[in-house]
């Protein structure tokens, strides 16, 4: 039941080229359109992107109904254009070394592109039993708990 190796991964086949997806993930004009859940808006002037390793990004999500603001940000760790983007994801004031890490990769499948999104351990080095590595393992435990048969109690 408890798998300590997997991360929290989402995959999706998207009708777009890796180049289109790369632009969507790295161009601040594009990020403002989609980098938030529904019911939330990201004002274009809140988005800054310094796309180089060690460079920071920030954006602020605004709840459409309450006006609550959620500043978000992080630092880019790896940049391989159209293939792979690794960045920390958290509160912009937090130490990036303590923030969860997002890895997103794009693989062309012809007309479609396979986008793989993973939230994982510190500095993108899973397997070192660091806090977030365990945190991510915990995600799988919990998701299985939420979806699986009711085995407890």
């Amino acid at each position: 039941m408890i798998d300590t190796t997997k991360g929290f991964t989402l995959t999706r086949e998207i009708d777009a080229t890796p180049e289109e997806l790369w632009t969507a993930w790295t161009d601040p004009d594009e990020l403002a359109h989609w980098w938030h859940p529904r019911g939330v808006t990201t004002p274009r002037d809140s988005v800054t992107v310094d796309l180089r390793v060690g460079g920071a990004y920030t954006y602020t999500m605004v709840n459409d109904s309450t006006g609550d603001e959620y500043p978000t940000g992080g630092v880019y760790r790896e940049i391989v254009p159209t293939e792979r983007l690794v960045f920390t994801w958290g509160n912009p004031d937090d130490d990036p070394d303590d923030a969860p890490v997002v890895t997103v990769t794009f693989e062309s499948l012809g007309e479609l592109t396979l986008m793989t999104f993973q939230l994982q351990g510190v500095d993108g080095t899973p397997g070192d039993e660091s806090f977030y590595d365990g945190w991510v393992s915990a995600l799988d435990v919990l998701v299985e708990h939420a979806q699986g048969p009711h085995v407890f109690g």
Partner: protein
Amino acid sequence: MPATDELSRVFSALADPTRRDILTRLSHGPISVGELAAPYPISRPAVSQHLGVLESAGLVERTVDAQWRQCSICEEGLDDASAWIAERKAEWNERFDLLEERIREKRRQGEAR
């Protein structure tokens, strides 16, 4: 969006392989503390310390039943945290829906020109 303190305690508690293993074993039913400690190559006090962490995170309950010290899992502790995770996953899936919509919109704009 930061986790609440209670959730942070749950995730910290789960960020250790021995404690995850303890939870897995307790998910099959309550066990005595001695039985629980037996397979681990660490001292009984170290096992007790792990149990203390799990207990303060609301994941495990220790009860004294006659001479037995029993441990059992607290389902509610995991429920809140799994709901939180499900929300994070849902949020990212919503982003990806919007991402797809945005790319379709850009393609339409490109064709219209």
